[in-house]
C-alpha cells in the first residue's frame, strides 16, 4: 500500500507538471489560473491530501457514439479523416474504427469529392479545391446510418513565419511565430517529434552465422542509431487577435526538460499549423478542458461536446466531431546536441552496460554470439587480423530494441 501510495504521489506530481505545462503552452492566463488553483490547493494540502483509485459503477450506455476527426487540406496536400466508435471506459482496447464507410465532400453545386479508405477507419483526401465555395461532408456507414456536417468554409491558413528554439535553465522550448488575418484568427497546432536514439554502446559488427564469423554490418543492419517518434498529445490553441497586429509571437509549442532523451543526439520537430473558425476553436477548447481539467478542486464542470456533425435521420443521436477545411502549413526544425550543450542524458537502465574485458575468441563466436543476446563490440587485432572481440549485451548496443533503425526520409544531417 505504501508503495502504491508513493507511486500515486509521483504520478500526481507528473500530472501537475503536465497540467501546468499545458497551461503555459496555451499562454492563456485563464486556463493557467485554473491549473494553478488546482496546483495551489494541492500544495496547501499536499501533506495531507491523497488520491486513491476509484471505480464507480457507470451505466455503459453512451459507448456507441460516432466520433469524426479531420482537417482536410484544400490545396492538394494529403490529409485524412478518421471515424470510429467510442468504447467503454473499462475496456482496454482502443476505440473501434468504423470501416467501409462512404464519405464525400460535396460542394455547393453538388460536386462530390470522395475520400478513399486507407487503413481501418482512416480515409484519405487529396483535392485541390476553391476557397470561395462552401462544402458539406457526408458520411454513410456500412449499416446505412447517415451523417452530415454543417456547411464548411475553407480557411486559408497563413504561412508559419518562423520556428525556433530557446535554451534556458529549464531545458529547451520550441516556439513558433505566425500572424493571423481577418479570415484566419484562431489557430490549432500539432506536431510530430522525431529524434535520433543511440544505444549506450555502439557497434558496427555483427556475427553472421552463415559465414560463422563476425563481419561489418551492412547499412540496413546498423543498430547504432535509431529514430524515435511521437506525436503531440496536447491540444495547442491560440487566438491571434489577442495580440497586436495579430502576431502570435514565439508561441510555445513544446518544452523539452533539461537532459531529456530527445536531444541525446539530434532532434526534429514537424509543426503543423491549421487555421480554424471560432466554432472549431470552441470545440477544441472543450475537448482540451474535458481532458486536462477533470475533477480537480477548482476545475470547471465538464462540458457537453458535440461539434459540427449530425445524424441526418435522427438529430437527437449524439455525434462527436469537428471537421474543418483549410490548408495545413508545416515547418520542420532540427535541434542538435551541440546547440544545447551541456545536456547530459543518462538512462539509468543502461548504467550497468560495459564492454566486457573478457574477450571472445573466434572459436567461441557461435557459442557466445549465436543466440544474439551478446554482440561483438571492440575487435582485438593481431597485426591486421581480428582474432577476438570484447562483447557486450545486446540490450546495451542494439537501439532497434527501442526504436526504429530506419532513417526517416525527411531526416537531414547538418
Amino acid at each position: 500500500m505504501i508503495d502504491r501510495a508513493s507511486r500515486f504521489s509521483g504520478l500526481w506530481q507528473k500530472y501537475l507538471l503536465s497540467v501546468s505545462r499545458i497551461a503555459l503552452i496555451r499562454g492563456d492566463f485563464f486556463s493557467r489560473s485554473r491549473a494553478s488553483f488546482f496546483s495551489l490547493a494541492i500544495l496547501v494540502v499536499l501533506f495531507f491530501s491523497c488520491r486513491t483509485p476509484f471505480d464507480p459503477e457507470i451505466p455503459q450506455t453512451a459507448s456507441q457514439i460516432l466520433v469524426v476527426e479531420g482537417y482536410l487540406d484544400m490545396q492538394g496536400t494529403l490529409s485524412e479523416l478518421k471515424i470510429s466508435r467510442m468504447s467503454g471506459l473499462d475496456s482496454s482496447q482502443s476505440p473501434s474504427p468504423e470501416t467501409a464507410a462512404l464519405i464525400y465532400l460535396e460542394s455547393s453545386v453538388g460536386t462530390k469529392y470522395y475520400l478513399e479508405e486507407d487503413s481501418e477507419g482512416r480515409y484519405l483526401f487529396q483535392y485541390n479545391l476553391g476557397f470561395d465555395d462552401t462544402y458539406r461532408l457526408f458520411i454513410e456507414l456500412q449499416d446505412g446510418e447517415r451523417y452530415q456536417s454543417a456547411p464548411l468554409t475553407p480557411i486559408q491558413t497563413p504561412e508559419i513565419i518562423d520556428v525556433g528554439f530557446l535554451r534556458d535553465e529549464e531545458g529547451v522550448e520550441i516556439f513558433l511565430t505566425t500572424q493571423g488575418n481577418e479570415n484566419a484568427d484562431d489557430f490549432l497546432w500539432g506536431f510530430v517529434e522525431t529524434w535520433a536514439y543511440r544505444p549506450r554502446i555502439g557497434t558496427s559488427y555483427i556475427y553472421d552465422a552463415s559465414i560463422g564469423n563476425v563481419r561489418d554490418r551492412f547499412s540496413d543492419e546498423q543498430i547504432s542509431i535509431c529514430y524515435k517518434s511521437a506525436s503531440s498529445p496536447d491540444i495547442l490553441l491560440e487566438t491571434s487577435s489577442r495580440f497586436q497586429d495579430q502576431v502570435v509571437f514565439r508561441q510555445t509549442i513544446t518544452e523539452i526538460p533539461e537532459n531529456d532523451e530527445r536531444i541525446m543526439d539530434r532532434y526534429s520537430i514537424l509543426i503543423s499549423q491549421m487555421a480554424i473558425d471560432e466554432e472549431a476553436s470552441k470545440f477544441w477548447e472543450i475537448l482540451k478542458k474535458n481532458s486536462n481539467d477533470i475533477g480537480s478542486i477548482f476545475s470547471p464542470l465538464p462540458s457537453l461536446i458535440r461539434g459540427n456533425i449530425s445524424h441526418i435521420d435522427d438529430p437527437a443521436i449524439p455525434v462527436v466531431g469537428q471537421v474543418s477545411l483549410g490548408v495545413i502549413r508545416q515547418k520542420r526544425l532540427f535541434v542538435d546536441l551541440q546547440d544545447v550543450t551541456p545536456w547530459n542524458f543518462v538512462d539509468p537502465q543502461f548504467n550497468d552496460c560495459i564492454v566486457s574485458a573478457e574477450a571472445v575468441y573466434q572459436v567461441d563466436y557461435q557459442r557466445i554470439f549465436g543466440s544474439g543476446d551478446i554482440v561483438p563490440v571492440v575487435p582485438i587485432m593481431e597485426r591486421t587480423t581480428i582474432v577476438a572481440f570484447y562483447p557486450t549485451y545486446r540490450r546495451c548496443a542494439d537501439c532497434s530494441l527501442y526504436a526504429s533503425p530506419i532513417l526517416p526520409d525527411f531526416w537531414e544531417e547538418d
Partner: protein, 910 residues
C-alpha cells in the same frame, strides 16, 4: 413589590434596553437543585470574575438549593449561608472570602488612607459600612464668596466599580437634585455648611453622605446597586426564543459555542460553526462558500455588521475571513428573513462584531501553527470604546517544509485581516459607530505569477433614540472586493488581470413599538453598484498583450421595507413584511439588440444601442413578501409557518462546482434577469427539561427562477457578452431539518439531521443548449442526507472536551461514460450532468480545551486548545476524475484531508 417599583423597573429595563445595554456579567443565574456548594462555586467562577477563598472543612456538607435569576452574589450567598454560621466578604477585586463565625475585613476602611486634602472622596472604597455613611467629609477650601458651592463627582457601583447612570443625587434640606449621567457623573449646587447628601439609586437603597461644604469640590461615591431581585422582570432570552420568536429557520451561534468546536489548524472559524447547523452544507472541505437549503454559495448575504463581505474566506476556504476574536455571535437566517434584510436568494448570515469593553484596556489573541491573531479593546475616555484586531499567517515555513518533501516550487501564500469598531456615545440619545474591515490574500505557485484578492469594507452608523418607542439607525458605507492576477512568466506575455466591485450603501432603519402588541420596522436601503467585471493589461514595457476589458457596470438598487411583528394574543404572534425592490441598470453602456424571439447568440444581433452615462438601460422592480407566524401550543412548544420571497440582482459567475476567488460578479442587465425565489416552511419547536433541551423540526419547499448555468465551452472571464453563454435555469429545493440541542449540564451538544434535495432544470424555452435534455438534474450541492453531531463534555472547570461528527451523502458529479481518440490522445465523453455521486462523507473530530489556572493576578489568562481533525483518517473523497494511464483511463478520487491532522493553539486574553 408594589406597582410603583414595577413601573420603575420596567422603565429601567427599557432604558437599559434602548441605550446600549450594559451587561452585568457578575450577576448570578441558574437553577441549583441541591448541588454541592463546591460545584456551585466552580460554576460561579466560570461565569463571573468572582474567585472564592475558603477553608474546605467549612463548606464540606453545604448544598445549594435555589434558583437565581440575574441576582447579586451577595444576595445569593446570604440566602445560602442563612442556616449556617458562615460569613462572607467580597473584596472590590471580586475575591470572595468565606469564613466561619466572623466576617473578614477585606478592604481597608477609607480613613485608613485618609489624607487631609481639599478634595475628599471615597476613592474606590467598597466597604459598605456605617463608617462611610456617618463619616463627615469636608469638601472644598473655605472661601468667603457666596453661600452656595458646587460639588461634582462620580457615582460608581460598589459591586463592579462601573458608573451608575440615573441615580438621583440630592440635598436633604433644599431638595436640590440632579441625576447622574451615563458615566455616573453629577454636579449639584448646595448651600455651604453641614449638609446631608442623599443618593437614590433606582431600585436600590438610599445612601447618605454627611458633608461639610466649605467651597467647590469633588465627592465621589460608591454605592450598592439594586437589592431587589430582578427575577420577575427578566426578559427571557436564549432558551425560549426558539419557541417564542415568530420567525423560523433562524440559527444562532455564539463565539463560545464555536470555540468548543474542533477546527482545522486550530483556528476558530465561524463558517465551520455554521456548518454544524441543519440545512447548511458545503460542496467540499476546500470550498469558499456554503450552501443553505439547496441554494448556491453566492445566494448567501454575509453581513459583517452592516457590510457585505464578498469573499468570506482566506486561502480558498481553509479559513474564514472573519477573526473570531472580533465576533460576538453569528445568526443565520435560512428563512424568516426580516424585511430589513435582502438582496440574496437563500440566506443572510449576520455576523455581529464585538464592541470594545468599557472597564479597561484588554485584549485577546492566539498563536497557532499557521496563524496568529491579536485584538485589543477598551475605553477611550468615558464615552468611547474601541476594539481592533489583526490576524496574519506565516505559512511560509510550512511551505518550505513541504518543499523539502515535494517539489512545490516557489509557492507562497499569505493572508491577513484587520478590523475594528469604534463606538462613541454622543449623549443618551445618540450613538455613533464606525466599523472597518480589511483583508488581503496573496499567493503564488511559481515566481512569475502572483494572485491576490482583498475585501475592503467600512461603515458609519448613527443610532438615535427619539423616545421610548422609536429608534432609528442611519448608516452609510462602502463594500469593496478586488481580485488580481499578475503574470510575468515571459516579458512579452506579461499581463495583469483584475476585477473589482464597489458598492456604496445608505440605509435608514426605524424600529417603533406601537402599543404592547406591535413592533414596526421600516426604512429604506439603497445600494449603488460599481462593477469592473474584468480587464487585462500588458505588464511591463516589453509586453505585447493587448489590453482588453469588459465594460464597467453600474446599477442602483433601492429597497423600501416595512415589517410588523404583531402579537395577536399570547399564543399567536405573526410577523409580516414587505420589501419593494427597485433596480436600475445604468449607462454608460453599449448593449446589443437581439432579434426578438431568438436566442441571445452573436448571429442574432440586429443592432446596438448606446446608453449615455447615467442613462437608465433597464429597470426591474418587484415586491418581496416575508410572512411568518407562531402559535404557542404550550409554554414549551409552538408551531410556526412562513413564506418568503427574495430577489437577487447580483450574480456570481462560476463554472466550477465550488466558489473560487476567480469567479467574477455580474449585475442584472437587460438579458440577465434578477434571480427570484419563494420559500414555504413549516416547523414544530419543543423545549424540554426546563429549556435545557431544545428540539425543532422544520420542512421547507422552495422554487427559484432565473438561475444561471452555462452552455458548453462557456468562457466566464473577460466575456463581454455573457448572456450568449448563459442558460436560463430554474431550481427547486425541499427538505426536512431536525435539530436537538442540550445547552447545559456537563454533557451538552447538538444533533442535526437534514434530508434535502436541490434540483435544477434548464428552462425548456432555452434554445442555446439544454442540459440533460431539460430534465431536472441535481445541483452540485445536492446532498440528500446530512447529519451533524457535536458533543461537549466538561471533565472539570478547566478541561472541556468536544467530539464532532459529520456525515453527508456524496455530492453529485458528472463523470465520463465512454472514451474515444481525438487530437492524438485518448479522450473521455461525459455522461449526463451530475448523474453519479462521489462516496459518502464522514468525519470525526476531537478537541480538548485546557484552561489555564484561575489566579486573578496573572497578567494574561491563557488556554490551550488541541485536538485532531479527522480522527479516523478517513479519506473522504473531495472529487473524482480520470487520467489516461498506460493506455487506459484510471479513475481516481481525491481526498483533501485524508489523514488525522493534529493541531494545537494557544489562546490568551488580558
Amino acid at each position: 413589590m408594589n406597582i410603583f417599583t414595577r413601573g420603575i423597573l420596567l422603565i429601567l429595563c427599557l432604558v437599559s434596553g434602548l441605550s446600549y445595554a450594559q451587561q452585568t456579567p457578575n450577576r448570578i443565574s441558574g437553577f441549583y437543585p441541591g448541588v454541592p456548594f463546591e460545584r456551585f462555586m466552580e460554576k460561579i467562577e466560570e461565569e463571573t470574575t468572582y474567585r472564592f477563598f475558603f477553608k474546605e472543612s467549612d463548606i464540606k456538607d453545604l448544598t445549594v438549593n435555589l434558583q437565581a435569576n440575574n441576582d447579586k452574589l451577595e444576595d445569593v450567598l446570604s440566602q445560602i449561608f442563612l442556616p449556617t454560621d458562615l460569613k462572607f466578604s467580597i473584596s472590590k477585586t471580586g475575591e470572595v472570602f468565606i469564613s466561619k463565625g466572623q466576617k473578614l475585613t477585606v478592604d481597608f476602611p477609607d480613613s485608613f488612607f485618609a489624607q487631609n486634602e481639599e478634595n475628599q472622596s471615597e476613592g474606590m472604597t467598597s466597604a459598605q459600612d456605617e463608617f462611610v455613611r456617618n463619616r463627615r467629609y469636608v469638601i472644598g477650601v473655605p472661601s468667603g464668596e457666596g453661600t452656595t458651592a458646587k460639588i461634582r463627582g462620580q457615582v460608581l457601583s460598589l459591586e463592579n466599580s462601573k458608573p451608575i447612570q440615573g441615580a438621583i443625587v440630592y440635598d436633604k434640606i433644599t431638595q436640590a437634585q440632579t441625576i447622574t449621567n451615563p458615566e455616573g457623573r453629577y454636579e449639584l449646587t448646595v448651600p455651604k455648611g453641614n449638609q446631608t447628601i442623599l443618593i437614590q439609586n433606582i431600585g436600590g437603597y438610599t445612601e447618605q453622605r454627611l458633608v461639610t461644604i466649605q467651597g467647590d469640590g469633588e465627592l465621589n461615591m460608591s454605592i450598592g446597586e439594586g437589592v431587589f431581585s430582578l427575577s420577575e422582570v427578566v426578559v427571557r432570552s436564549g432558551a425560549l426564543t426558539n419557541i417564542s420568536r415568530p420567525e423560523m429557520g433562524v440559527q444562532s451561534l455564539s463565539v463560545q459555542q464555536m470555540r468548543k468546536l474542533p477546527s482545522v489548524m486550530g483556528e476558530v472559524d465561524i463558517l465551520k460553526g455554521i456548518l454544524t447547523m441543519p440545512g447548511v452544507n458545503t460542496a467540499g472541505e476546500a470550498s469558499v462558500g456554503f450552501n443553505v437549503r439547496g441554494g448556491a454559495a453566492d445566494q448567501n448575504l454575509i453581513l459583517y455588521d452592516q457590510n457585505t463581505l464578498f469573499n468570506p474566506s482566506h486561502l480558498f476556504g481553509f479559513f474564514s475571513s472573519v477573526n473570531s476574536d472580533m465576533v460576538q455571535g453569528v445568526e443565520l437566517y435560512k428563512a424568516g428573513i426580516p424585511a430589513n434584510l435582502g438582496g440574496r436568494l437563500s440566506s443572510v448570515l449576520q455576523v455581529t462584531p464585538k464592541l470594545g469593553r468599557t472597564d479597561k484596556i484588554g485584549g485577546s489573541g492566539g498563536i497557532g501553527p499557521l496563524t496568529s491573531r491579536l485584538s485589543v479593546e477598551g475605553p477611550i475616555g468615558s464615552k468611547t470604546t474601541f476594539i481592533v484586531g489583526a490576524r496574519m499567517t506565516y505559512s511560509d515555513w510550512l511551505l518550505d517544509y513541504l518543499e523539502d518533501k515535494a517539489d512545490i516550487g516557489a509557492s507562497r501564500a499569505f493572508f491577513a485581516d484587520f478590523n475594528g469598531t469604534i463606538q462613541h456615545q454622543l449623549n443618551e440619545k445618540n450613538i455613533l459607530r464606525f466599523t472597518g474591515y480589511y483583508s488581503e490574500d496573496e499567493f503564488q505557485f511559481d515566481p512569475d505569477t502572483v494572485y491576490s484578492y482583498s475585501n475592503q469594507n467600512f461603515a458609519l452608523s448613527w443610532t438615535h433614540y427619539f423616545n421610548d418607542q422609536v429608534e432609528a439607525t442611519f448608516s452609510a458605507g462602502q463594500d469593496g472586493y478586488d481580485f488580481q492576477v499578475q503574470g510575468e512568466d515571459n516579458p512579452l506575455n506579461s499581463y495583469r488581470y483584475n476585477f473589482d466591485i464597489r458598492q456604496r450603501f445608505v440605509k435608514a432603519q426605524f424600529r417603533q413599538e406601537k402599543g404592547d402588541r406591535h413592533i414596526f420596522s421600516y426604512g429604506i436601503h439603497s445600494i449603488w453598484y460599481d462593477l469592473n467585471p474584468g480587464e487585462i493589461a500588458p505588464f511591463g514595457a516589453e509586453s505585447i498583450v493587448i489590453p482588453d476589458d469588459v465594460a464597467a457596470e453600474k446599477a442602483l438598487e433601492t429597497s423600501l421595507f416595512f415589517g410588523d411583528e404583531f402579537e395577536i394574543n399570547e399564543k399567536l404572534t405573526v410577523t409580516g413584511g414587505l420589501r419593494y425592490n427597485l433596480y436600475g441598470y445604468f449607462g454608460p453602456q453599449t448593449l446589443p439588440e437581439y432579434a426578438p424571439g431568438q436566442p441571445n447568440l452573436p448571429e442574432n444581433i440586429i443592432g446596438e444601442k448606446n446608453y449615455a452615462s447615467g442613462e437608465l438601460a433597464k429597470s426591474y422592480h418587484g415586491p418581496e413578501f416575508r410572512f411568518s407566524g407562531r402559535y404557542a401550543l404550550t409554554n414549551w412548544s409552538s408551531i410556526k409557518g412562513g413564506v418568503n420571497t427574495m430577489r437577487q440582482n447580483i450574480h456570481l459567475m462560476s463554472n466550477s462546482s465550488v466558489m473560487t476567488p476567480t469567479d467574477t460578479w455580474k449585475l442584472s442587465d437587460p438579458f440577465i434577469k434578477p434571480q427570484r425565489g419563494i420559500q414555504y416552511g413549516l416547523g414544530y419547536f419543543h423545549n424540554l427539561k426546563n429549556n435545557s433541551v431544545e428540539f425543532s423540526a422544520e420542512v421547507y419547499y422552495r422554487t427559484m427562477e432565473n438561475l444561471l448555468d452555462y452552455r458548453s465551452g462557456a468562457k466566464i472571464v473577460l466575456n463581454d457578452r455573457i448572456e450568449q453563454d448563459v442558460l436560463v435555469t430554474k431550481g427547486k429545493a425541499y427538505g426536512l431539518e431536525l435539530f436537538l440541542r442540550k445547552s447545559t449540564g456537563k454533557l451538552n451538544g447538538s444533533v442535526a439531521y437534514t434530508y434535502s434535495r436541490s434540483l435544477m432544470q434548464t428552462d425548456p424555452s432555452e434554445q442555446k443548449e439544454q442540459i440533460n435534455r431539460s430534465e431536472w438534474y441535481p445541483s452540485n450541492f445536492d446532498q440528500p442526507h446530512n447529519a451533524n453531531l457535536v458533543l461537549n463534555y466538561e471533565l472539570s472547570r478547566r478541561i472541556n472536551t468536544t467530539l464532532a461528527a459529520k456525515y453527508s451523502t456524496g455530492r453529485p458529479v458528472t463523470l465520463p461514460v465512454a472514451k474515444f481518440e481525438y487530437g492524438g490522445s485518448e479522450r473521455v465523453y461525459f455522461g449526463d450532468r451530475n448523474s453519479v455521486r462521489i462516496p459518502d462523507y464522514f468525519r470525526l473530530d476531537f478537541s480538548v480545551n485546557l484552561e489555564g489556572n484561575h489566579k486573578v493576578k496573572k497578567t494574561a489568562h491563557g488556554s490551550w486548545s488541541f485536538g485532531v481533525y479527522n480522527v479516523l483518517g478517513r479519506d473522504n473523497p473531495y472529487s473524482v476524475y480520470y487520467i489516461p494511464e498506460e493506455g487506459t483511463l484510471q479513475g481516481y478520487k481525491l481526498s483533501i484531508f485524508a489523514e488525522p491532522i493534529p493541531f494545537v493553539t494557544y489562546n490568551f486574553r488580558f
